[in-house]
């Protein structure tokens, strides 16, 4: 009985550790869906459900050419402090109070992944 319990515990810990690992890799994707897809689109192409009502169009994050022109620090700053901080539209909100810095970096990595670009 005690032995079974120990095995069950080890198994549970392994499962939980596995989930935590997977979650980490997915973090940027999950955050993007929650906070960004409403404007930038479920496929990150700039055509979110709100885009039709906006005077300035949300950026297409799959567009490698434009994404290549940005450093990771540019992207980080745009997300944390909003469009205004990088001389772009205020319609890109500042997310620094909603999303931790660590998670904003996860978003930057996710943007690099979907645009197949680098810093």
């Amino acid at each position: 009985m005690r032995c079974q319990l120990a095995i069950a515990t080890i198994f549970a810990v392994m499962v939980m550790a596995g989930q935590a690992g997977a979650e980490d890799g997915n973090r940027g994707k999950v955050l993007y869906k929650a906070y960004c897809s409403q404007c930038h689109g479920m496929e990150a192409d700039g055509y979110g459900v709100n885009a039709g009502y906006m005077e300035i169009q949300p950026k297409d994050h799959t567009e490698a050419k434009e994404m290549n022109a940005r450093t990771d620090d540019d992207l980080f700053k745009a997300i944390r402090d909003g469009g205004k901080a990088i001389n772009k539209s205020v319609l890109m909100p500042a997310w620094g109070k909603n999303i931790s810095e660590e998670d904003i970096w996860a978003l930057v990595r996710y943007l690099r992944e979907i645009s197949a670009t680098e810093d």
């Binding site: 404007c39 055509y47 459900v49 709100n50 909603n98």
Partner: protein, 227 residues
Amino acid sequence: MFRSTIKKLFLGMIVVSSGAAAEGPSDRLKEECSACHALSEVTLDAQARMAQKAPPLYYAGTKYRRDWMVSWLQNPARIRPGGMFSGNHTVVTDDGDDIDPITLQDHVKLSANNATEITDYLMTLTAKSDLIIAGEYKPKSVSKRMGEMNFIKFKGCGSCHQAEPDYGGVSGPELYTVFNRLKPDYIVSFIRDPIVWQGVSLMPSTGLNNREIYKLVDYLKLLSGEN
């Protein structure tokens, strides 16, 4: 832990069976409404927020206006054009993303008696009232044109919220009836910091100052007055 689960199951059975004998508003809420609405404190993360089925009601007395709730429960017109989380109701089309209205459920309708009884009970749930500064909001007048420009262009609220039926962003609740729905001091507090209410918010917390917040609420008041 196992024992406490059994205890909970057992307690649940007692609640259900006694509910059948003499049904009060709090029993009805637990049985019918708690499937979607949180009736006790929960703190969400982004993932849980996306899965959230309905707005929490455990601080309803702090947030909602009584008269609005009594009438809405009898005739529940849609408040969130994109549902609780728009990403769960979005279809990707060649013309861009769109809300698929078929995936949005109609809300349960209550009789006048039940609506009044349940609302009066909900109004006693005043958790989180420490986040409100009572009497803070003092209405001032604002012109429709200036208010709208501020709301859409300068503050970017119109990207996610409708300021009139069928016009404006669809990922947030419509705001043309919000002043009739919610207590003014709650609206002020929510705009000041949307995150504190549920531990997470899909609305950006942008640190507006009091004057900017009151101006926005003046505009929301104007919108609701016209409807």
